[in-house]
C-alpha cells in the first residue's frame, strides 16, 4: 500500500484538504481525517504529479487577472513546457476567500496552447496582406508609423486603449509609461466600457469606493440593483450566500430573472431603468416616516448648505454680509453658508472639517448679501424634501410596474436593518441617466447612515479600475506629457462643452493592449470602417490571442499570457496584492510586453534611452523584477510594507486606515472627520476635491448644466427620451424593445470566447433571449435563428423563449466574436451618447462621458429562414471516428 505519506506529493495533500477547513472545526482536524483515510484505505495512490515536473515538482502560483478584475490566485502544473492543469491556489489568509477562481480561468490552459495563440509578430505586406515577420521588422514598422503620425498630426492623435490598470501594473503599466513618454492620448477604459459610475464623483467626489467582497458577509440587508453577482462575480458570490446563512437578507431588483434572483431571498421585478424612481420613493418614505439619520445628513452631507432659491446656486460665505468665510480654504474648496439653529445665526461652513453641528436642515431663510440685496434661501435638504414630494410610493409604483406597498415595506427595512449595503450594478448604471439613479441610491445609503460602517454603504462592481497604490514611479516618467480624450468624441466628434482636448485632426492611430476594440468596444463597426477607409492610419495591437483586432492591425505583437510573465495585480474585490509568475515560456516568438515597449520607445526616439534602458528579451524577467521592486518601494503606505520575496510566495495584504481586518470605505471621513473626497489615484486630491467643494457628500449640484436640466437634485428621467427618441422619433415604433448586452457566465467580455469548453457549454451557438409573449408577437418561436436590429446595426442568434425576460427587453450575451456569428457584431447597435452633465469637469476615468450600453432600442425578426447557425469552424477540436449523425455536442439540447 502506498499512501500520500510516502509519495512525494509536494504540499498537495495538506493544501487540498485545508481549503475545506471552513467546514471542519479546524484545518488540523480535517488534516487528521485525511491521514486516517489513507491509513485505512487499500487504494493505491496515483502517481504523484510532482514526478518529472520541470519546475522542481511544484504547482506554481500565478494570478488569473483578465478584465473581470477578479484577481484569483491560481496554480498550474506543467509538462513539456505546457500547462496541463490549473487549480485555485486557495492560499488566502482569510479562509472565506478560498477557493477563488471560476470555470473560465480554470480552463485557460486550453487557450494558452490553443490554435488561436499568437506566436509570431505580424505586419502588412505591400499588398496589404497580414504576414508573419521577425521582431526587428515588426518593431521598426510600428515605430516608423507612430513617429510619422505624431510628427504629422501631433502625438495626441495616437489613441491608447489598454486593459484595466489594476489587472497589471508592470507590463500594462509599460503602455501607460510609453504613452506618457510621447504624449499619446490615453483613452480611459473606465468610461469606454461604461464602467464609470458618474454618481460617485457627482456625489462623493471620488472615482469610486466599494466594499471588498468579504464585507458582504457582514451585511444584514443587501439591496442589489441590476448586478448579476452570481454570474459576473463568481469568486465573490458566496459572500452573499454567507450573509444569508448568518441571518442576513438579500433583495434583488432586476427586470429579468437570473441566477442572482434565484439566490436572493426576494426578487423585485421592476421595469427597466426604473430603479431611480424606486430609490427616490424609498427616500421619501424614510424621510416622511422620520426614519432617517439626521446626524449623518447634518454632519457629512451638504443637506444644511443654503441654496439661493432664485438662482439655484449655493450661497458662498464670502457673499454674505457680516459673515467671514472660514480661513485657509484652498482654491478647490469653498466656505458655504448654513443656518445655525443653536446660535440662531447664519454660519460659514468649513470644508476643512466635518464637525458636529446644529445646522438647520429645513426652513426658509433670508440671507443679507454684501451687494445690498437679500437672498431667499433654503437648505439643500429642504429642497430635497420638496423635490421628493412628487415621488410618492404610488407614483413610483406606476413607473416601476410594481405595487406601492412593496416600496414602503422595503424602505422601512432599509432604514431599520443595519448594516445595509446597496450594490449598484451595471444593469442599472449603464443608461444615459445612470448617474441620476446612482445619486438616488446613494441618498438611501446616506439617509440610513450606512456609510463608513462595516458591511454597510453603497458599492459598484462594474469594471473596477481603481488604483490602489501610487504608480507614478513607473507609469509617469520624467518629463511626462499627459494627454487623454474619451472615445465618445472620436465617434461623435468634438462637442461645444467638452473639457478634454480633442486631437486637432482627430485620432489617426490606435495602440491597443490586451483588448479587442474591433469586436468589443462600443461602435465596433465604426472602428472597423475607420480601419478599412484608412481614416485610422495605423493600429498596433498587443495580445496573446488571434482576435479580430490582432488580425486587422497594421502591426501585431504576440505577447505573454499571465502564465508567462511577472506582473503585479490588485483588485477592489479583495485586499491582496499578487504576482503573475512565469510558469511556462511564451510560445514561439511571443514576448513580454515590457520588452516590446522598451524596444518601441527606443526605436521611435533613441533619445529616450535613459527612460527606457534596453535589455535582451531573455532579461525581461529581470527587468520586471526591478520595476516590481520600484513599484513596491515607491507605492506609498498601502503597499510599501510588502516585498517582492513575500509576493513570490503568495498574496500580500494591502494596508488600510481603519482598525480591524477589513477595509471600510469612508471610515476616515465618518470616524475621523476627514473631509470628502477620498483620493482618486493617480490624481492628486486637489484635482478631484473641486467636485465636492463643501468637503461633504453632495446631493445638490449647482453647475449651470445641472440647473438647466433640472438635475440639481436626484430625479427620475425615463429611458430613450433624451437619446433614441430624440434622435429619431420613429424609433419609438420601429424599435420598441430595449437591448441588453449582458455579461455571460462563459466569457469575460470577449475573452474566453474561443475556449473550447465554454463553446461546448453554449452549444457553440450565440443566443438571443426574449419573453415568450414578445416572441409570439413577432411570430418567432424557440430555436429560430433571429436577427436583432436597429438603424445602426444587427446581430444574430438563436432564439430562446425565457419567461424571466421582461416583455420589453431583448437580451444578447455580449462577447461573441463576429466570426462565430455570421460576421455580425452585437456592438453595432450601440451608440456612445454623451450626457452633458458628464462634461462639466474632465478627469480621465473619473469625471468623463460614460458609456450607456443599455440605452439602445431594437427590434427582432426572423433571419435566414430561421435555420440555426452552429459554429463548426472553431478549430477547437477535431472529431475523429464518430459515426455519422451523432452529435459531437452532448451538453444541453439542440432545439
Amino acid at each position: 500500500m502506498t499512501s500520500a505519506n510516502d509519495t512525494p506529493v509536494a504540499n498537495a495533500a495538506p493544501k487540498g484538504i485545508s481549503r475545506r477547513a471552513f467546514v471542519a472545526a479546524t484545518s488540523a482536524a480535517a488534516l487528521g481525517g485525511a491521514a486516517a483515510l489513507n491509513a485505512t484505505t487499500g487504494v493505491k495512490a496515483a502517481a504523484a504529479l510532482t514526478e518529472g515536473a520541470p519546475l522542481g515538482g511544484q504547482w506554481v502560483r500565478t494570478t488569473c487577472s483578465p478584465n473581470c478584475t477578479g484577481a484569483c490566485g491560481m496554480e498550474a502544473w506543467v509538462e513539456d513546457g505546457e500547462v496541463r492543469l490549473v487549480r485555485q491556489a486557495a492560499d488566502y489568509p482569510y479562509e472565506h476567500y478560498n477557493p477563488r477562481g471560476c470555470l473560465k480561468g480554470l480552463s485557460i490552459n486550453t487557450m494558452l496552447h490553443g490554435p488561436d495563440r499568437l506566436t509570431m509578430p505580424l505586419i502588412r505586406n505591400d499588398k496589404g496582406e497580414q504576414v508573419e515577420t521577425d521582431w526587428d521588422t515588426a518593431l521598426d514598422t510600428a515605430a516608423d508609423k507612430l513617429r510619422e503620425i505624431a510628427e504629422k498630426y501631433g502625438p495626441n492623435s495616437i489613441g491608447v486603449i489598454y486593459q484595466v490598470q489594476g489587472t497589471g501594473h508592470i507590463q500594462k503599466g509599460a503602455l501607460v509609461r510609453i504613452a506618457n513618454t510621447f504624449g499619446w492620448s490615453v483613452i480611459g477604459g473606465y468610461e469606454l466600457n461604461g464602467d464609470l459610475p458618474m454618481f460617485w464623483p457627482e456625489t462623493f467626489g471620488c472615482q469610486s469606493e466599494e466594499l471588498e467582497s468579504y464585507c458582504w458577509e457582514d451585511s444584514k440587508l443587501t439591496l442589489i440593483f441590476g448586478s448579476n453577482i452570481m454570474v459576473t462575480r463568481m469568486p465573490d458570490a458566496h459572500f452573499l450566500t454567507y450573509s444569508q446563512e448568518a441571518g442576513g437578507k438579500v433583495i434583488y431588483f432586476d427586470p429579468n430573472y437570473s441566477a442572482s434572483a434565484e439566490r436572493a431571498d426576494e426578487w423585485v421585478r421592476i421595469a427597466p431603468d426604473s430603479d431611480g424612481a424606486f430609490a427616490l420613493a424609498m427616500a421619501k418614505t424614510i424621510i416622511d416616516e422620520d426614519l432617517y439619520d439626521k446626524h449623518f445628513m447634518q454632519t457629512y452631507t451638504d443637506s444644511p448648505l443654503l441654496i439661493n432659491v432664485e438662482t439655484g446656486k449655493r450661497i458662498l460665505a464670502s457673499e454674505v454680509q457680516g459673515l467671514e468665510p472660514v480661513a485657509g480654504v484652498p482654491d478647490y474648496q469653498s466656505s458655504f453658508v448654513a443656518y445655525d439653529e443653536a446660535a440662531g445665526t447664519l454660519a460659514a461652513t468649513s470644508p476643512l472639517e466635518l464637525a458636529d453641528n446644529a445646522f438647520a436642515l429645513t426652513g426658509t431663510y433670508e440671507v443679507p448679501l454684501k451687494d445690498g440685496g437679500t437672498a431667499q434661501a433654503k437648505p439643500g435638504f429642504q429642497l430635497l424634501v420638496e423635490r421628493l414630494e412628487e415621488y410618492t410610493p404610488a407614483f413610483a409604483a406606476e413607473i416601476c410596474g410594481i405595487d406601492a406597498d412593496t416600496i414602503v415595506r422595503i424602505a422601512r427595512e432599509a432604514a431599520t436593518v443595519k448594516p445595509m449595503h446597496i450594490i449598484f450594478g451595471g444593469g442599472t448604471q449603464q443608461w444615459y441617466h445612470g448617474d441620476l439613479k446612482g445619486r438616488a441610491c446613494a441618498l438611501v445609503a446616506c439617509l440610513t447612515g450606512n456609510i463608513g460602517q462595516l458591511g454597510g454603504g453603497i458599492s459598484t462592481y462594474v469594471g473596477q479600475y481603481k488604483t490602489r497604490f501610487n504608480t507614478a514611479s513607473w507609469m509617469v516618467p520624467e518629463g511626462a506629457i499627459k494627454a487623454s480624450c474619451p472615445f465618445h468624441y472620436w465617434v461623435n466628434g468634438p462637442t461645444a462643452d467638452m473639457k478634454a482636448v480633442y486631437p486637432k485632426d482627430g485620432f489617426k492611430a490606435l495602440v491597443v493592449g490586451w483588448g479587442n476594440p474591433l469586436e468589443q468596444h462600443n461602435v465596433a463597426d465604426w472602428l472597423r470602417t475607420a480601419v478599412e477607409t484608412g481614416d485610422l492610419e495605423c493600429v498596433v495591437c498587443l495580445d496573446f490571442q488571434r482576435t479580430l483586432t490582432a488580425t486587422s492591425a497594421t502591426v501585431t505583437f504576440p505577447c505573454a499570457s499571465w502564465y508567462e510573465k511577472t506582473e503585479l495585480t490588485t483588485t477592489p474585490l479583495h485586499p491582496y496584492v499578487q504576482l503573475q509568475q512565469r510558469i511556462v515560456d511564451p510560445p514561439g516568438q511571443a514576448r513580454e510586453e515590457i520588452w516590446i515597449f522598451t524596444e518601441l520607445a527606443n526605436r521611435i526616439d533613441p533619445s529616450k534611452a535613459d527612460l527606457w534602458p534596453r535589455f535582451a528579451p531573455e532579461d525581461s524577467e529581470k527587468r520586471s523584477d526591478e520595476v516590481l521592486a520600484l513599484l513596491l518601494e515607491k507605492g506609498g503606505p498601502t503597499i510599501d510594507h510588502l516585498t517582492p520575496e513575500e509576493l513570490r510566495r503568495g498574496p500580500g495584504k494591502l494596508a488600510h486606515a481603519n482598525p480591524g481586518e477589513k477595509r471600510i470605505p469612508f471610515w476616515e471621513q465618518v470616524h475621523e472627520r476627514v473631509p470628502f473626497p477620498t483620493v482618486s489615484r493617480p490624481n492628486p486630491i486637489d484635482a478631484t476635491a473641486k467636485f465636492v467643494r463643501s468637503g461633504r457628500i453632495e446631493f445638490y449640484r449647482d453647475e449651470d448644466i445641472f440647473l438647466q436640466l433640472d438635475e440639481q437634485l436626484p430625479c427620475y428621467k425615463p429611458p430613450f427620451e433624451d437619446t433614441e427618441y430624440k434622435d429619431d422619433p420613429a424609433a419609438r415604433e420601429l424599435y420598441p424593445l430595449g437591448y441588453t448586452t449582458r455579461n455571460s457566465a462563459f466569457r469575460v467580455h470577449a475573452t474566453y470566447v474561443n475556449n473550447p469548453f465554454m463553446l461546448e457549454l453554449q452549444d457553440n451557438t450565440p443566443k438571443v433571449w426574449l419573453n415568450p409573449d414578445t416572441a409570439a408577437e413577432r411570430g418567432l418561436k424557440n430555436g429560430d435563428w433571429v436577427e436583432v436590429y436597429n438603424s445602426r446595426g444587427t446581430v444574430q442568434g438563436q432564439l430562446i423563449e425565457d419567461p424571466g425576460v421582461y416583455p420589453t427587453q431583448c437580451i444578447f450575451d455580449q462577447g461573441w466574436w463576429s466570426h462565430y456569428d455570421n460576421g455580425t457584431s452585437y456592438n453595432s447597435l450601440i451608440w456612445p451618447w454623451i450626457n452633458p452633465t458628464n462634461e462639466v469637469y474632465y478627469i480621465v476615468s473619473v469625471w468623463s462621458p460614460n458609456m450607456a450600453w443599455n440605452e439602445t432600442a431594437c427590434n427582432v425578426r426572423l433571419c435566414n429562414g430561421g435555420r440555426p447557425q452552429v459554429i463548426d469552424d472553431t478549430g477547437k477540436s477535431t472529431y475523429e471516428g464518430g459515426p455519422s449523425g451523432v452529435s459531437p455536442i452532448e451538453y444541453g439540447e439542440r432545439v
Partner: protein, 242 residues
C-alpha cells in the same frame, strides 16, 4: 469507509465550475461531461422556468451518484463496472469495458458518457495536439480506472477523482467550487467534513424511487419571494408573493 458527496443547492450559483474542472482534470474529450449542471425544467442555460406560479432557475449539478446498489454494476456483463469495496466508489475498468452500453441504459441518472469511436483530440499550437488533464493513468489494483488517452468505445463517468482521493485529496469539483457548495468525505466517519457539514441539515437523494441508495446527498435551496406583477406565462396568472 464510504465516500460520499454533499451538494448544497442553497450555495450553488449554477456557474459550472465543477463541470469544467471535472472535464479538465479528467481529460474528458469533446462531447464528454461527467458532471453537468442542469436548470430544472429546461435544456438551456440562463433561462427561468415557471414553477407553479413563480419563476425559478433551480440549478442541479448531476454526476455519478455512486449508488450503494448500483444498477449499472448489475447490468454490466463483463464486470467492468464495479464497486471499490474500500471506499464504496463505483468505477469502470476501461480494460474490461466492451462498450455495450448496458450500464447507460440501466443508469436512471443519465450520467454515463460513451466514447463513440476514438475520442477527439484537442488542437494545440501550430496544428499539434494539446493534451490536458491528469497526465498519468491510474489503476485501482489491476483495474484501469483512469487514463488520459481514452480507449476507443469505452464508457466513462465520475470516479470521485480516484487519482486524487487515493492521495488524500478531495475530488476536483469539491476543491474548486467557488461557492463551497460541494463537500466530500467519508460517511462512516463522524468527524469527516461531510458528516460535520450535514449535521442538522435535511438532505435528499435523487431518484429515491429507484432504491439505488445514492452516495451523493443534496441539500435543498431556499425559495425566492417574488414581487412580479407581470404575467409569467400564457395563462396570465399573477405571481405576487411580496
Amino acid at each position: 469507509m464510504r465516500y460520499a458527496m454533499a451538494i448544497d443547492l442553497g450555495r450553488c450559483i449554477g456557474c459550472r465550475t465543477c463541470a469544467v474542472v471535472c472535464k479538465d482534470f479528467n481529460a474528458q474529450p469533446q462531447g464528454i461531461w461527467w458532471n453537468r449542471v442542469f436548470t430544472s425544467g429546461t435544456p438551456e442555460y440562463d433561462v427561468a422556468v415557471k414553477v407553479n406560479d413563480q419563476l425559478r432557475m433551480e440549478f442541479v449539478p448531476i454526476s455519478c451518484q455512486h449508488c450503494t446498489d448500483a444498477p449499472c454494476e448489475t447490468a454490466c456483463p463483463t464486470q467492468a463496472t464495479y464497486t471499490d469495496k474500500d471506499t464504496g466508489t463505483v468505477l469502470v475498468d476501461y480494460d474490461r469495458c466492451i462498450g455495450c452500453r448496458m450500464c447507460a441504459s440501466a443508469c436512471p441518472y443519465g450520467v454515463r458518457q460513451y466514447n463513440w469511436g476514438a475520442p477527439a483530440k484537442m488542437v494545440g499550437l501550430d496544428g499539434s495536439v494539446y493534451r490536458y488533464g491528469w497526465p498519468h493513468e491510474y489503476r485501482d489494483g489491476d483495474h484501469l480506472v483512469y487514463t488520459p488517452e481514452r480507449p476507443e468505445g469505452v464508457m466513462e463517468k465520475c470516479t470521485f477523482c480516484a487519482q486524487l482521493t487515493s492521495q488524500g485529496q478531495d475530488p476536483a469539483c469539491c476543491t474548486a467550487c467557488p461557492g463551497n457548495a460541494r463537500i466530500f468525505g467519508d460517511m462512516d466517519d463522524a468527524d469527516s467534513p461531510i458528516r460535520r457539514y450535514l449535521e442538522g441539515k435535511e438532505t435528499y437523494t435523487l431518484g429515491e424511487e429507484y432504491r439505488t441508495e445514492p452516495n451523493v446527498y443534496y441539500i435543498a435551496a431556499h425559495g425566492v419571494s417574488q414581487v412580479n406583477l407581470l404575467s409569467t406565462g400564457a395563462e396570465g396568472e399573477e405571481a405576487n408573493h411580496g
